[in-house]
């Protein structure tokens, strides 16, 4: 893999290979980097499980019907809680999705655009401008209005 031909190679050349101190294989650096994440996930899981088991052993437990009722200001709950949810949550989720995908495109661009020149910058301005116009349209249509 020759360095400098793309975003991924660039990062690999800049960070991984230099940090590791030798010419390691891509698979090897990948393993190095994600090994700790994988282990941390397991340790975190065990940590919570240990705490829950410790509480199961140490904490008192007495069965009583009143304890199984969910809280509703001290009264018996009226109906189930799995109610319908207002549509505006869905609209915000869609808006979030659009901007999150935009962010995915922006990260590699942001790391490399200074070398790519003016054209790369104005192209991304156009891209963000279209999204900004979309946000403005949503704003005008009242999607961003919480209580209407």
């Amino acid at each position: 893999m020759d360095s400098g031909s793309g975003v991924l190679c660039r990062f690999e050349h800049d960070c991984c290979a230099v940090r590791a101190g030798e010419d390691r294989l891509p698979f090897q650096t990948l393993l190095d980097n994600w090994l700790a994440v994988f282990l941390a996930a397991i340790v975190g899981f065990i940590l919570v499980a240990t705490a829950l088991i410790a509480a199961r052993v140490l904490a008192p437990y007495s069965k009583e019907r009143g304890k199984g009722i969910s809280y509703e200001c001290g009264m018996l709950p009226i109906g189930r809680a799995r109610a319908q949810i207002h549509i505006r949550y869905y609209l915000f989720a869609i808006l979030f999705l659009i901007f999150d995908v935009e962010a995915v495109f922006l990260f590699p661009w942001a790391a490399t655009f200074a070398a790519a020149g003016k054209a790369a910058f104005w192209e991304m301005v156009l891209f963000i401008g279209i999204l900004g116009a979309g946000l403005g349209y949503a704003w005008k249509k009242g999607v961003l209005q919480w209580n209407k």
């Binding site: 994440v37 008192p60 989720a93 999150d100 655009f113």
Partner: protein, 381 residues
């Protein structure tokens, strides 16, 4: 590719597994005590700001308070509503805690003290810290309580809305430093920390991080006077304390991220010249600044309304974050002097503060509209 080359990474695997495992266990111990200290520290600082003494009885100046609390929480009966969804209810604790814990792996405490030197660590930290809303949704849905569902939905809406300004502010940083690695971003700031060139980005990060942490004034999902604790309402004992533990771990992660990205982390000033002890001191000192700010904001600001919260993210923070990206791009592409960035970004930051101040000063008419124009009866959320 020959078989030796393919097998090469597996040869010294056991040693690296052990090294990583030991480092993670050490980190777990440090994290536990740091969180216990943070609970004590928060109570003390908030008490002082309210002209009280805070905990004083357990040990000198109440320093054993956190240990007493731990014993109490472990020995407390934890309840689960009979109608709750057992899988979602139980797994929510794991779904919230594990991502917050994983994030610590990519945090460079000093130049060499980092468990996993991954090349895209900034992206990793942002991605992992954004995962917690799944746990909130699970807890809200699984509890079978109306307040929990309200809180869970609000938490999800808030976390995803403030995720975007946070990410956009970070993209501004990535543009200037040309790197997605936190270590490289820190080294970039050996002369001047990035807060000087990106005051607008810093302001956006600060606000969005308070919202991501669901701390006051952005504690709408858990506000006790509105939704009686939100998603935590049906959790008690050890499960509840796991939620609290996670929120403090997240507070440390965001404080560290802010310290690395805007205040120069372990590098500025003269971090690499002096040594790791000084670097660790720099990291912790800058992290403490953020933590004190988070505690300070709790005592100083009243809670926002839910409509103000969403408007603030989408109508103020996101447009200004896009403006910061545009300014960065202009300065970098046309080789303008750095001072232009300071002036324009600072002016935009002031404009944002002025805008918010004006909006706050206007006499609120929204509650009247809410009364006259109520929501359909069937949707409780």
């Amino acid at each position: 590719m020959s078989i030796e080359l393919l097998a090469a990474p597996l040869i010294d695997l056991p040693q690296r597994w052990m090294a990583a495992l030991l480092a993670i266990i050490a980190l777990t111990l440090v994290m536990t005590f740091a969180v216990m200290f943070a609970t004590y520290y928060e109570r003390k600082v908030v008490a002082r700001m309210q002209q009280r003494l805070g905990p004083m009885r357990t040990g000198p100046y109440g320093i054993m308070q956190a240990f007493a609390d731990t014993v109490k929480l472990v020995a407390k009966e934890d309840l689960r509503p009979a109608t709750a969804d057992p899988v979602a209810f139980e797994l929510a604790v794991f779904a919230i805690f594990v991502p917050a814990f994983i994030a610590l792996v990519a945090v460079p405490f000093t130049e060499d003290w980092i468990i996993s030197p991954m090349p895209l660590s900034l992206l990793f930290l942002l991605a992992v810290s954004g995962l917690s809303f799944i746990g909130f949704l699970m807890a809200g849905w699984g509890s079978d309580s109306k307040y929990a569902l309200l809180g869970g939905m609000r938490a999800a809406a808030q976390l995803i809305s403030y995720e975007i300004p946070l990410i956009l502010a970070m993209i501004g940083i990535v543009m200037v430093t040309s790197s997605v690695n936190v270590g490289d971003i820190i080294i970039f700031q050996d002369k001047v920390p990035l807060i000087v060139w990106q005051p607008l980005g810093f302001l956006i990060f600060l606000t969005a991080s308070v919202a991501e942490l669901e701390r006051q004034p952005f504690d709408i999902p858990t506000g006790e006077s509105e939704v009686a604790g939100g998603v935590f309402i049906e959790y008690s004992g050890i499960r509840w304390s796991m939620f609290q533990l996670t929120s403090y771990v997240n507070m440390y992660v965001f404080a560290l991220l802010g310290a690395f990205v805007f205040l120069g982390g372990w590098e500025w000033p003269f971090g690499r010249d002096i040594g790791w002890g000084y670097q660790l001191f720099l990291t912790l000192a800058k992290m403490s600044l953020f933590i004190v700010f988070y505690l300070w904001s709790r005592t100083s600001f009243p809670r926002l309304r839910v409509d103000q919260l969403m408007s603030y993210a989408w109508k103020v923070l996101i447009p200004f974050a896009l403006l910061q990206i545009f300014l960065n791009g202009l300065v970098l592409v046309y080789d303008l002097p750095d001072i232009v960035l300071l002036i324009t970004s600072g002016a935009a930051a002031l404009a944002m503060v002025a805008l918010v101040y004006r909006a706050v000063r206007v006499t609120p008419r929204v509650p009247l509209k809410m009364v006259s124009n109520t929501m359909p009866a069937r949707s409780v959320v």
